[in-house]
């Protein structure tokens, strides 16, 4: 439609603020009339249908002009429709009636309102990865700091004529151990960020467990502990990032297998449906977890050097996909403490 037609339509609409004219109301284009400040005075039927808003009068339209040609400018408009904020490609024409300035807005198309929950969910997942990366980077700095100190001490010892070779060797060996620890953290970074995608997927929870066990065994270079699987059949699928959740489950297995120094007692992994979640439990007799330690820190008997970082990462990954990770003193399987991973059902049955 040419700018002249827009002006005619606006004029035909009446003295803006009054009932719109028939031509304006029935026009095939979605049109709004706003005052100079962007307050919508009237909108036609097509505009109300297109934007999905029964009443647009009184709404505020913010315009972001991208291209101006003659009297018609094109841009993007932001319009508040109730609790929904709508974006739309628009064309605008300035209209002056009786010295009053108005803007006739033709809505070309619009993006459907995005559910706030979806936006928040996506942001939460992205934030989870950023936080995990930050935590790993911070953790990586620790052994690097130790390596620096060991090497400096070793160098100082080497300069001292009275330094014993044994002392120098001990410093260098410890520096090497710390360097290996640092490289292990880099490996974790690669595992997480190398397989990370922004997409969720529908996954069979039992398949996730199998994948986690395989990864755990592969990383351990064998079977560091007996693993019993009690996987329920017919579980519904869950919607997660399979790579990340597999990583989290494998980490929990590693923690469970390593926390208790006794060689007795298998690790038991079980799955069961609980209402609208799938529950995955990881248990080992003698696994003590202080429920008061909600930050998942290791207790007595913890493997030397384990900082609790892995548990924090596991929790972050699982909560990013709407799940819950908790520790229980009395596990549902009846054997001391366990890790309980609740994953929300996707709505599809396996």
């Amino acid at each position: 439609m040419s700018s002249a037609i827009y002006r005619e339509a606006a004029a035909e609409a009446g003295r803006f603020g009054q009932l719109p004219g028939e031509f304006f109301e029935a026009a095939p284009d979605a049109m709004l009339i706003a005052d100079d400040a962007g307050n919508v005075v009237v909108a036609n039927k097509r505009a109300r249908e297109l934007l999905g808003c029964a009443e647009l009068a009184g709404s505020k339209i913010d315009r972001w002009i991208l291209n101006a040609a003659e009297s018609v400018v094109e841009g993007i408009g932001f319009l508040q429709c109730g609790s929904t904020r709508v974006t739309a490609n628009i064309s605008c024409t300035d209209v002056t009636v009786d010295a009053a300035k108005w803007v006739l807005v033709v809505v070309r198309d619009h993006k459907p309102p995005v559910a706030q929950s979806l936006v928040l969910s996506q942001a939460w997942k992205k934030l989870a990865i950023a936080e995990i990366g930050n935590a790993l980077a911070h953790e990586l700095n620790q052994p690097l700091a130790a390596v620096t100190l060991h090497c400096e001490t070793a160098a100082s010892s080497a300069r001292t004529s009275s330094a014993a070779d044994a002392e120098l060797q001990a410093e260098l060996e410890q520096a090497t151990d710390q360097a290996f620890r640092a490289s292990g953290i880099v490996s974790k970074l690669r595992q997480i960020f190398g397989t990370y995608t922004d997409q969720s997927d529908i996954a069979d929870p039992n398949a996730l467990v199998h994948a986690a066990v395989s990864r755990f065994v592969a990383q351990a270079g064998g079977w560091p502990a007996e693993i019993n699987l009690r996987l329920a059949a017919g579980l519904p699928h869950v919607e997660v990032n399979p790579a990340l959740v597999t990583h989290a489950l494998a980490s929990l297995l590693e923690i469970a297998a390593g926390l208790h120094e006794s060689e007795a007692g298998p690790v038991t992994v079980a799955t069961v449906r609980r209402d609208d979640t799938v529950l995955i439990t990881i248990n080992r007799p003698g696994l003590w977890l202080d429920q008061k330690e909600t930050q998942f820190h290791p207790l007595e008997g913890a493997k030397a050097g384990w900082t609790g970082l892995e548990f924090a990462i596991c929790k972050r990954v699982i909560t990013a996909y709407g799940g819950v990770l908790e520790t229980m003193d009395n596990c549902c399987t009846g054997d001391d403490g366990c890790f309980c991973v609740h994953l929300p059902v996707s709505g599809e049955e396996s």
Partner: protein, 131 residues
């Protein structure tokens, strides 16, 4: 006379390797050194004894080292270690690199110089307050 002059230090770091290394090297300089692996243990030690200086990591397993120091009255002298934090004002304490703040990783001699300067500072210079 050794730089430590028998002064009492508290080293707070949840990473044991760094904590023990720093403690050992400062002991060699003549300091009497106590260790804590987090806020809770450090608070107990600080309540029980007088320390000339606290050397603490910022990010601890059970809390924040800056907030820990800031909450103590009277505020002890402190040097803060961090692998990521930027110097500046935090929790009412003005962090200055080379004075009361050091990045990780660091050389022990750099930390030692800061420790020596801190314990030698006169009482009218409040270490760690916003200047």
């Amino acid at each position: 006379m050794s730089p430590g002059r028998g002064c009492k230090l508290l080293i707070v770091d949840d990473y044991g390797e760094v904590r023990s290394l720093v403690s050992r090297q400062l002991q060699r300089l003549g300091y009497e050194v106590a260790q804590a692996d987090g806020v809770i243990e450090a608070q107990k030690l600080l309540a029980a004894g007088d320390f000339d200086l606290v050397v603490t990591d910022v990010s601890l397993r059970d809390g924040n080292g800056i907030e820990m120091i800031s909450a103590i009255d009277p505020r002890p002298r402190a040097i803060f270690m961090s692998g990521y934090m930027q110097p500046g004002a935090a929790s009412g304490i003005n962090l200055e690199a080379g004075r009361n703040f050091i990045y990780k990783p660091f050389k022990i001699r750099e930390l030692a110089q800061m420790v020596n300067a801190a314990v030698a500072a006169r009482s009218d210079y409040e270490f760690g307050d916003i200047s």
